[in-house]
């Protein structure tokens, strides 16, 4: 009985790292279903297994045991090349340290995933990359080099890059970890907008206030999910940004 709304289903995931002779368990028996249109925040202390879980969801790592299906298709047991293609077409990645190529313009950085996608004609590269940059509000910085961009702008280039192949899921690994709170809220504003447009977002964070922007929070501890609940008082980034703007205005007037 497959639920069509189920985008990602993992069952009984186990991941063990071997360090010499000792085995270190990173994930023990994790099961989770992620629906289409979900905005999931994964929380937990460092070493709780949330990054390992994220890597497996992102098809960057293989679990020791368990099953993983995406859109009803079995993901595990595929070759490196098939996984690379899956990452290219279905997933978008946003990292804590931005991971955009240095000495490469914003536009060329965003074009990068297109170069590895055979289904898109080279003459569309420029337009698609420009559209993605516009959607994150960087339409006027297309030719800027990373060292000319602020941290928030670099992260927005990374988001544009993750969007350019029209993914179904965006995997964000502590996307606000290197940013101040105002810029973090701007990133959340983009994520909420994308989520409203139907893109599923899976985000790892250890900041509880950032997790409040998601629809669902799960908490990892010692390789297990110990909490999985809907966010009760979900924050709206646009509102929050207005509030910050008002506060700073009041400060300057007094």
């Amino acid at each position: 009985m497959k639920n069509p709304e189920n985008l990602i289903t993992v069952k009984n995931l186990v991941k063990t790292y071997k360090t010499g002779t000792t085995e270190v368990p990173a994930l023990s028996d994790v099961s989770l279903t992620i629906d289409k249109g979900e905005f999931l925040a994964i929380m937990g202390a460092s070493g709780s297994g949330k990054s390992t879980f994220m890597n497996i969801l992102g098809c960057l790592d293989n679990p020791t045991a368990g099953t993983y299906t995406m859109e009803g298709i079995d993901v595990l047991g595929r070759s490196r090349d098939e996984l690379a293609e899956l990452r290219n077409r279905k997933l978008g990645f946003v990292f804590q340290s931005f991971n955009i190529l240095p000495r490469t313009s914003a536009l060329e950085n965003v074009e990068l995933p297109l170069l590895y996608n055979n289904t898109i004609s080279p003459k569309d590269y420029g337009d698609k990359a420009l559209d993605a940059l516009k959607s994150v509000g960087l339409g006027d910085r297309v030719n800027a080099m990373p060292n000319e961009l602020s941290g928030g702008q670099q992260q927005r280039v990374a988001i544009a890059r993750s969007l350019v192949n029209d993914p179904i899921v965006i995997m964000a690994d502590e996307p606000t970890g290197n940013l101040d709170s105002r810029t973090s809220y701007e990133i959340m504003q983009i994520f909420q907008k994308l989520n409203d447009a139907g893109i599923t977002i899976v985000m790892v964070t250890h900041e509880p206030d950032i997790a409040q922007f998601a629809k669902t929070n799960i908490v990892f501890k010692d390789g297990k999910i110990i909490a999985n609940e809907a966010v009760k008082e979900r924050k709206n980034a646009t509102e929050e940004l207005k509030l910050i703007a008002q506060l700073s205005e009041e400060k300057s007037t007094t």
Partner: protein
């Protein structure tokens, strides 16, 4: 992934690191340039030697007295004497494959004109000698058959002799009488300038007189002659002509079938083969030195590409995360090293040609740049790019995406 995209990716990545790309290229540039320059110098000297030997007459056959197999060159008046003027006449009369034949008597003598004197080589030959050696007369004329028969006191002089006896190369010495070993001899012709031969000998430092004049008036013995110079009718018939001469001389000298020849027959082609071998060895030596530098350039490519893989591990991780397959990374790195060796090869060819021309201009050394040497070094450098680029590229492609992403 499209190949065009891979070229784009590789090209962008090379342009991002211009200095590094140039430094890798430098090894290939110098390697290719030195291969081309060395081969050009080697080939130039090879052709120069061949041309000098050809100027001695390609069809010529030399007959020396004595069974001197080791040196191949007559030891002069002191070596055993077996050749006579009758042998020359017999060759002329009986050998069909020989078109010119001349006895050669050679000695050094003091030549005097007025208050000037000069020590030079006197050659006693017939007019056939001039034909075989392609000698021509610049002024005056050569001696007649009659002058040869009567041992007339006439001679032809080379320009160096004119310079040293008359003080000026352009002086017209025809009609002047010089003294060779106290014998007054009239100059009737001046030889065309020949210059130096490959071995550094001045070919203009010579006096040519009729054979009988030298034989009867200047040599200690009138029985024997120093050597015989002949020429085959064509280059292809030289070997047969040598056999013909050998058989005839064995018969005339009454040599038993079991005995060795009492003369040695050598051809110009044997000498040119010897010198050709020497210069080929030299070319190979130079080319292998240059080849080693090309190889070192290739190892340089591998070194820097390996460092570059480590340095760019994080970049490779990013590319893999967003969908680059192993073979995309492999191809990107391969294209980078091929482009480097290709572009380096082109610069190297240009530099090699320029360097060769400079050697030719300032070193006075003949250089010959052959298409094959250009192709060879270019193909070799491309092959080196492929070969030494492969290992680092494969290393990059085999990286695990998460490990590569985590690498800082």
């Amino acid at each position: 992934m499209r190949t065009f995209n891979l070229f784009k990716v590789a090209f962008r990545s090379l342009m991002r690191n211009k200095l590094r790309s140039f430094l890798i290229m430098l090894g290939i540039i110098i390697g290719v340039a030195s291969v081309i320059a060395m081969l050009a110098i080697g080939e130039g000297s090879n052709q120069n030697i061949k041309a000098s030997i050809a100027s001695l007459g390609t069809n010529s056959i030399m007959v020396y007295p004595g069974n001197n197999m080791s040196g191949g060159v007559s030891q002069g008046a002191a070596s055993n004497k077996t050749l006579r003027i009758e042998d020359v006449d017999a060759i002329k009369a009986n050998c069909d494959l020989v078109n010119f034949v001349s006895p050669v008597d050679q000695k050094r003598a003091q030549v005097i004109y007025g208050s000037q004197n000069w020590n030079t080589t006197i050659l006693g030959v017939t007019n056939d000698y001039l034909a075989i050696r392609s000698l021509t007369i610049a002024q005056g004329s050569t001696f007649t058959v009659n002058e040869d028969r009567t041992a007339a006191k006439v001679c032809l002089v080379g320009l160096t002799v004119v310079l040293n006896l008359f003080g000026d190369e352009n002086y017209n010495p025809i009609g002047e009488t010089i003294r060779i070993n106290s014998i007054p001899v009239k100059i009737i012709g001046v030889l065309t300038k020949m210059g130096q031969n490959t071995f550094g000998q001045d070919q203009d430092d010579i006096i040519i007189a009729p054979f009988s004049t030298v034989q009867k008036r200047m040599m200690s013995s009138s029985m024997y002659i120093n050597s015989i110079l002949a020429s085959g009718k064509s280059e292809g018939q030289v070997v047969d002509a040598v056999d013909e001469i050998s058989i005839l001389l064995r018969e005339k000298h009454k040599i038993a079938p079991s005995d060795d020849n009492d003369f040695t027959v050598r051809t110009q082609s044997e000498i040119s083969t010897v010198f050709g071998t020497i210069s080929k060895v030299m070319t190979i030596l130079l080319a292998s030195i240059a080849g080693i530098s090309l190889l070192v350039g290739g190892i340089g490519i591998m070194n820097i590409m390996l460092v570059s893989v480590t340095e760019r591990t994080h970049e490779i991780g990013i590319r893999m995360a967003i969908g680059a397959k192993g073979k995309d990374i492999l191809t990107q790195f391969m294209i980078e090293s091929i482009v480097i060796s290709f572009v380096g090869g082109i610069f190297g060819i240009v530099l090699g040609i320029v360097a060769s021309q400079l050697v030719a201009k300032f070193g006075g050394w003949p250089v010959v740049i052959t298409i094959s040497s250009v192709l060879l070094s270019f193909l070799f450098s491309s092959a080196i790019g492929l070969f030494f680029g492969w290992y680092p590229a494969r290393k990059a492609a085999a990286l695990n995406p998460i490990d590569a992403l985590r690498y800082e």
